[in-house]
């Protein structure tokens, strides 16, 4: 394992937090010691106090825009109006990273407000590649795309997910956002090996890691893990994260919490835990170089 300088442009390899509306005023007032912040651009596409606060925060913290609305996997195409709104926000707040999801949300002009799974086929791969190209061209920059958490898979879905992601990155030059909680959720739900999943991703493409909590839904006696971002990061996800760092090197890492949002202090404590693991990774990597 070595430290890398090439590949996706990066934040300082520290932990950040997903900034949600209930914490904005406290972050502005207290400027907590956290390396960077990430927001959903869809919450900042109007005028008024929200986007003004974001500009103020941007003056003091590196910022990442993590979109949930582009629907890059929609067969109906990418909504140009939404892409243009994203471009205007990118121009306004100049984020260090811009990311989206390997999923779809729009069919027939209606937005399903969920990151829905794609069948992993050649057709999906070609379509997603075209849409990532379109987004990168319109935004004038590289984006990262995130692996989804899935509760179902399609009969006709022959390409293993990590290979699908690697191929999207290879074709488009986009980076990958490895959501370790999503890897855990998806591989658990389909009885796959999460370590093998991580090992199949191309390390040079991974520009960001996400961590979050998940819930357990016992449907008909079968436990389905649900990616609800409603609790602390689970112990096995921290273990998987440590493996991801050993494989990918020190990657900027974000802690997300979206339902039953805790105090800012709790969220910052989760970020400090990630920072400690990042520090350990540095020691191991330096040790490897010395050898």
């Amino acid at each position: 394992m070595t430290l890398r300088d090439e590949g996706v442009p990066r934040f300082p390899a520290r932990a950040g937090i997903g900034l949600r509306a209930p914490h904005v005023a406290e972050v502005l007032a207290t400027r907590p010691p956290v390396a960077w912040l990430e927001v959903h651009p869809e919450n900042y596409m109007g005028g008024g106090p929200a986007v003004r606060a974001l500009e103020e925060i941007r003056a003091d913290y590196p910022l990442s825009l993590h979109g949930v609305g582009l629907s890059l996997g929609s067969a109906d195409g990418v909504d140009r109006r939404h892409l243009d709104r994203l471009r205007r926000l990118v121009e306004r707040v100049e984020p260090t990273l811009v990311s989206e999801h390997v999923s779809w949300s729009v069919a027939g002009g209606h937005y399903l407000n969920h990151l829905l799974p794609l069948p992993l086929t050649d057709e999906s791969l070609a379509l997603l590649g075209r849409h990532v190209d379109e987004a990168q061209e319109r935004l004038g920059r590289q984006i990262l795309v995130e692996n989804p958490s899935s509760y179902l898979r399609f009969d006709e879905s022959p390409i293993p997910e990590p290979e699908f992601l690697a191929e999207v990155a290879r074709r488009t030059g986009c980076g990958l956002l490895c959501d370790v909680n999503n890897v855990y959720v998806t591989t658990h739900n389909f009885e796959l090996d999460p370590i093998a999943y991580l090992d199949a991703l191309p390390p040079a493409a991974v520009g960001e890691i996400h961590l979050a909590g998940h819930a357990r839904n016992d449907a008909d006696g079968r436990a389905i893990l649900i990616d609800d971002h409603g609790s602390a990061v689970a112990a096995p996800v921290w273990e998987l994260y440590a493996h991801a760092l050993r494989r990918f090197g020190r990657v900027p890492t974000l802690v997300e919490w979206d339902t039953d949002i805790p105090t800012l202090a709790v969220l910052l404590a989760e970020a400090r835990t990630a920072d400690r693991l990042l520090d350990v990774t540095r020691v191991e990597a330096v040790g490897a170089l010395a050898r």
Binding site: G46, S74, W104, Y111, N113, H114, L116, L152, A219, R222
Partner: protein
């Protein structure tokens, strides 16, 4: 094997209408009924959209209680699914839906309370606009003044109701006195909603002022708006009314109404602050 477009449209029907017969044939069970897997997604879509509506319409939600609100929201979401990903823009037609929703028939004031909440939500996220420098208005030739269209701040909404929706709204805030009684027979109200600094506020306007500003928001020329206000009260003072708009920082620009429908719209246009471009 269905195309990706066919699969996604079938999936969307399964979510919105519960018509999952088509899509389940393409889903692996993996130890569960495919229908149960689709239901996990459907639950998330409806739960999060219901939460978005409740965040935009907290007073309506409180007036009808959470269970009834969830029932109404479920029907609304099926009939009016979102057309874009910005959830602060979702729910514009919820007041009209409530007005036509039979179970709400007895809550006669509910649609107007919803209209107030939508106007407040819209005001919060409306575009920013700097107040107009009044000297720009003074520079307009007197002969051209009647055909001016004054532009008010994008957050402004004017709302008339036959019910005391301002008092209903205040009595249903988290910090309100729970013993407050509201006399529905006390009469209606004319409200102006706007953003002021970072807050959304509303206040009661008198008849002529309401009529004047309402006409301006509709894009009518100054002389037409003044005519409407004078009909409401012969004492209406146009100069004072314009002065009030300036003092309240509601005036953000103006343009000249074209003289005839056929004429080229040679507009003199001014924006408050940035990039003012005026022609003679």
């Amino acid at each position: 094997m269905p195309s990706l477009a066919e699969l996604q449209h079938a999936f969307a029907r399964a979510i919105w209408d519960g018509a999952d017969g088509e899509v389940v044939g393409a889903i692996r069970g993996d130890g569960l009924l495919p229908e149960a897997r689709v239901a996990l997604y459907r639950h998330h879509v409806f739960a999060t959209l219901t939460a978005a509506l409740a965040a935009t319409y907290p007073v309506v939600s409180r007036l009808v209680d959470a269970r009834f609100f969830a029932y109404a929201a479920d029907r609304y979401i099926r009939e009016h699914p979102p057309t874009g990903p910005c959830l602060f823009e979702y729910g514009a037609s919820f007041p009209e839906f409530l007005a036509a929703f039979p179970p709400c028939r007895d809550l006669v004031y509910l649609p107007d309370v919803a209209r107030l909440e939508w106007a407040m939500n819209r005001a919060l996220h409306a575009a920013d606009a700097a107040p107009l420098d009044p000297d720009r208005l003074r520079a307009v030739a007197a002969a051209a003044t009647p055909r001016l269209r004054l532009r008010l701040h994008p957050s402004v909404a004017l709302l008339a109701s036959a019910w005391p929706i301002d008092r209903i709204w205040r009595a249903n805030q988290p910090d309100a006195d729970p013993t407050t009684r509201i006399d529905l027979g006390a009469g209606g109200v004319r409200l102006e909603v706007r953003r002021l600094a970072d807050d959304v506020v509303f206040r009661v306007l008198g008849g002529p002022t309401f009529a004047f500003r309402h006409a301006l928001v509709e894009g009518r020329a100054l002389e037409d708006a003044a005519g409407v206000a004078l009909t409401a009260s012969p004492d209406f003072d146009l100069a004072a009314a314009i002065q009030d708009l300036v003092l309240e920082e509601l005036l953000v620009g103006f343009e000249m109404e074209p003289l005839t429908l056929d004429a080229q719209p040679a507009r003199a246009r001014a924006d408050g602050g940035r990039n003012p471009c005026r022609s003679g």
